[in-house]
Symmetry: C2
Subunit: 272 residues, 2 copies
């Protein structure tokens, strides 16, 4: 399937589940939709914390389109599943948000780790959570994000166990994906970043770390969701876990786009 | 000092010691001079083991010149100090090898870690052995090099202790220096590569690894010297430790050159 095929399947509600592995080679993105009253502060939060929050596009106010990621994209229906948040609590999960869309909404698309995981596997680096078909292990750290207005909170990381030679190659490979969290933020001793027990992740599923493996930690897209929940924003919409926006951007070429709100349309690799 | 100034100082025997820190920004190289009878096998050994033996130039038989690294270079006198080896044993240390040069000699110049160490320090990554003005710690590993003819032996590695965040950045930075040993070959548990005791290096000086640091291991230019000693080559000449050939190549742009023996002159970045 090409990216447009995946989006059309989601729009038709034929696809209502995770997008992992669909349209390989193309960047997928996390979605955050916020009212314009807090959008500027969230935009600034992303810019201050680019490793967990790599912005790849921001919509104009009230517009559900992101032509820089695909001419036909409509953020209200092109993701398989959405989560609706009220006062920081999960309120609903839906497959279309057209009925909820408002003229003051701003959509943020953030790069996600699917892009670099695909590249790691293509280089022969085994990912245990993919093999076991579980979610990646995620942890809240003692590293504070830089705050912006109401948005603040800890850096959340994902962890993948790798033998040392693979860890080194994984650093080399993922550093080429700055719009998909980039190089790891830590490896080795988890206690150095405030993680007490690797076998009890805060999100996702536990995975065994063998004696010849190092835990390798990457900044994680759950970070902005945790900041939104902590800020108890009255109304917000995000993608549902694993149910991403599949874009027309090549995963490997994806780079962080900045300052793309306001009157200018978002600028991207595929702008025509 | 520019690279040519350093070479002229060595040629005049004003400079007779280490070249570390001289002509910053320019690649320095290890030297190996061998009779043509074993030169082809050594060339192949380097090509089979590019991380410890990153060839940046090979001379034509009997010629002491390497125009790809600097038009005026004469390998017989442009290094501050040389070591002469007979049957694999150190026989002499001299500042000029003109009187020893023979028509059947082939010179090999290999990239060295000075280039990436300079880049690491420029990025604010502290190197303990530089601060303490001691030699880097080096160890024989249980990783066998790929053999070529008489040349074989273990991979020798250098070790630098770094905190995790710096280790990750060091992988990113040194991967851009393929002609200076490139990215590390291992990090973390030394026993996985056959090193029993970090405090007893096989070459160089011991350095303390703090509890919040990881030992990070790079392939080391002592590897080919160990192979030459092990092969008990009747006659060979190398640079003396730390007394390198300073080239006109930019350190950051240095890349591995291959297949540059034979009738073609060596090809390099600065060829005119």
């Amino acid at each position: 399937m090409r990216p447009g095929d995946v989006r059309r399947a989601a729009r038709a509600q034929v696809l209502t589940g995770p997008t992992a592995g669909l349209a390989p080679g193309f960047a997928q993105g996390n979605l955050v939709v916020l009212p314009s009253g807090v959008a500027d502060e969230f935009h600034r939060f992303c810019e201050l914390n680019p490793k967990p929050c790599p912005l790849i596009a921001v919509t104009e106010i009230g517009r559900p389109h992101v032509p820089s990621l695909g001419e036909d994209i409509d953020l209200r229906m092109d993701l398989p599943r959405y989560r609706v948040w009220r006062d920081g609590d999960l309120a609903d999960e839906v497959c279309d948000i057209t009925h909820l869309w408002r003229d003051d909404f701003v959509g943020f698309v953030l790069g996600c780790s699917f892009s670099f995981e695909e590249a790691l596997m293509a280089e022969g680096i085994p990912l245990k959570h993919v093999r076991s078909r579980t979610n990646v292990s995620m942890y809240r750290t003692n590293i504070a994000c830089r705050s912006a207005g109401v948005f603040a909170g800890p850096l959340v990381v994902s962890m993948r166990p790798l033998v040392a030679a693979d860890a080194i190659r994984a650093v080399e490979i993922t550093s080429r994906f700055p719009a998909a969290h980039g190089a790891p933020v830590h490896l080795g001793d988890p206690s150095q970043i405030g993680i007490r027990d690797l076998s009890s992740p805060d999100y996702g599923d536990a995975v065994d770390v063998a004696s010849n493996e190092l835990p390798v930690f990457w900044a994680c897209g759950v970070t902005p969701q945790a900041a939104i929940a902590q800020a108890r924003i009255p109304f917000a919409i995000t993608h549902a876990p694993g149910c991403m926006l599949v874009t027309d951007l090549a995963a490997a070429a994806s780079t962080t786009h900045r300052g793309c709100t306001g009157p200018r349309p978002p600028q991207g690799n595929t702008d025509r």
